[in-house]
């Protein structure tokens, strides 16, 4: 058996999605741990300076969400950008080209219903699906996590209701699992009534799909969990998944101190001051 006479098999890109139950872009340790994971995933493309783009659509492109994204990534070794569909008039860019040249596309939280409606109006879904197949990492929290699944539980209309997602991932997702009992209850009811089963994610818990097969669970805060939620003969079962803990990196100020220390050490070594 061999491929000697056949065409050389083309390397297929690994399809990766990181779904997060809820986090912010703050300087608190669990938020820093999430940013570190995003940076690591973006860097796996081998890009010298990974490109990370936020789609803040679900929030209505609020300046808060965009500013906190830039404050988290602006000083890091990456090329951050935003695609604000409500603000394109001020900064024309080629949407498709810009999105397809990213290493990671991050989708912020907000209204899942509005997110999908605006994406549909601008024809973004097909671009994201292509990006995924090309190996660009797709990531997001809250509405930006549920959008990749067949369905999610959204509070876009005020109270928690089921809504359809893009369906890149099979099954459903419910976010803020520990923090919003009414959302979790609505999810368990929906799954009991025939919505495809899936996952529940606490704030600071995440699921990472890499290629085929089951996702691996990660957690940036002790106690935050990911659950598998399934239905069998009308009974809905939740089972927690073993998760890998993501340690928080040193805060920015400390990182600078460390970098400074290393620079000095290197200079000294070059100058022959150190052995």
């Amino acid at each position: 058996m061999g491929f000697a006479n056949g065409p050389i098999p083309k390397a297929t890109a690994v399809r990766r999605i990181l779904a997060l139950g809820g986090h912010e872009f703050s300087s608190r340790p669990p938020d820093r741990a999430v940013c570190e994971l995003l940076l690591r995933l973006a860097g796996e493309s081998g890009a010298e300076r990974p490109r990370i783009c936020i789609l803040p659509t679900a929030s209505g492109d609020t300046s808060d969400q965009i500013a906190s994204f830039y404050s988290a990534f602006g000083e890091r070794h990456c090329d951050p950008s935003d695609v604000s569909l409500f603000r394109l008039g001020r900064r024309p860019l080629e949407l498709r080209d810009h999105l397809l040249e990213q290493d990671l596309i991050y989708v912020g939280g907000g209204s899942m219903v509005n997110l999908l409606a605006v994406w549909e109006a601008h024809d973004i879904a097909s671009i994201l699906s292509l990006a995924w197949r090309k190996g660009i990492v797709l990531a997001g929290q809250s509405a930006g996590a549920m959008c990749w699944f067949e369905a999610g539980i959204t509070k876009s209309s005020g109270r928690p209701l089921a809504a359809a997602g893009l369906g890149l991932l099979e099954g459903s997702l419910c976010v803020h699992y520990n923090n919003e009992p009414e959302r979790r209850a609505a999810y368990l009811d929906a799954v009991g009534e025939g919505m495809p089963g899936g996952y529940g994610l606490d704030d600071y818990a995440g699921l990472l799909w890499e290629g085929e097969g089951a996702p691996s669970a990660v957690t940036a805060r002790r106690g935050a969990r990911a659950y598998r939620v399934s239905q069998r003969e009308g009974e809905v079962a939740e089972s927690p998944l073993p998760a890998r803990f993501l340690p928080a990196p040193a805060p920015a100020a400390l990182r600078e101190d460390i970098a400074e220390f290393r620079r000095i050490k290197t200079m000294r070594r070059r100058a022959g001051w150190l052995g």
């Binding site: 679900a58 209505g60 609020t62 569909l85 209204s111 509005n114 409606a117 549909e120 005020g158």
Partner: protein, 255 residues
């Protein structure tokens, strides 16, 4: 009982969003409601419900002269629960500017498109600028992002529409081209000019600036016929409403 006169006022640009200190167009639409303290609901959907825009609305439509409210479709947990009931109880619905493509997408997702038709038929005055003007028409020229594009609106008014129709802005050229390519005839308005429709008929053009004008555009064969429409400047104290008669006639050359 309210007599259901259907009214839409489509601003080419202007009102509190663009003309701070010049309330002429906003006063005009408030006046149309004939209510002592009109109920006015702002729909900032085209801006993504931008906070600063909502604040500017409340400053311009202060509680001493109307009963202002807004609906934020990105924060439904905070606003009125029953959107239909809230919108149908208004005297005036004011739609802000921004991305008309996003606006129509979000409206469809929340069923606002059919509620607005219902409100119009029930006699609620509808108005808006820019994206908030384009949305009422069957077809529109959107210049929000990159090259001007042709798109479909809600279709309450069976015409095409182009806003910010200033000379040399590039939209005029695109509008003429779209018309030659089969877009239905319609109306354009410069910043400061507003097209006031009663039912599906243009009843008059009013303006907050002395030189702002509205235009009627039609296609005759391969030629686009553009007519400037007589406009009432609202700043003249003794302004007599002008009838929508062609003030000047110009024929644009075919491509």
């Amino acid at each position: 009982m309210k007599t259901a006169e259907r009214q839409i006022v489509a601003f080419g640009g202007g009102g509190f969003s663009m003309e701070s200190g010049n309330p002429l167009l906003d006063d005009y639409v408030l006046g149309l409601t004939r209510a002592e303290r009109p109920r006015v609901c702002f729909l900032p959907s085209a801006s993504g419900d931008a906070d600063h825009y909502i604040v500017r609305f409340y400053r311009a439509f202060s509680a001493h002269r109307c009963e202002p409210s807004h609906i934020s479709l990105f924060r439904r947990e905070q606003g009125p629960g029953d959107l239909r009931r809230h919108l149908l109880s208004q005297d005036l619905i004011y739609v802000g500017g921004g991305s008309v493509v996003s606006l129509l997408g979000v409206w469809r997702a929340h069923g606002i498109d059919s509620i607005l038709r219902e409100a119009w038929e029930a006699g609620v005055v509808l108005c808006g600028l820019s994206a908030g003007s384009l949305c009422w028409f069957a077809e529109a020229v959107s210049g929000f992002h990159g090259e001007p594009k042709r798109l479909r609106g809600l279709g309450l008014l069976p015409f095409s529409n182009c806003v910010h129709y200033e000379r040399g802005a590039g939209r005029g050229e695109a509008y003429h081209r779209f018309l030659r390519e089969g877009m239905r005839g319609g109306y354009a308005a410069e910043d400061g000019a507003a097209l006031h429709f009663s039912g599906e008929e243009l009843s008059r053009v009013v303006a907050s600036r002395p030189r702002a004008r509205g235009y009627r555009l039609d296609v005759a064969g391969t030629r686009v016929v553009e007519m400037q429409i007589a406009t009432t400047y609202l700043g003249d104290r003794e302004a007599i409403p002008a009838a929508p008669l062609p003030e000047a006639l110009s024929t644009a050359p075919a491509a």
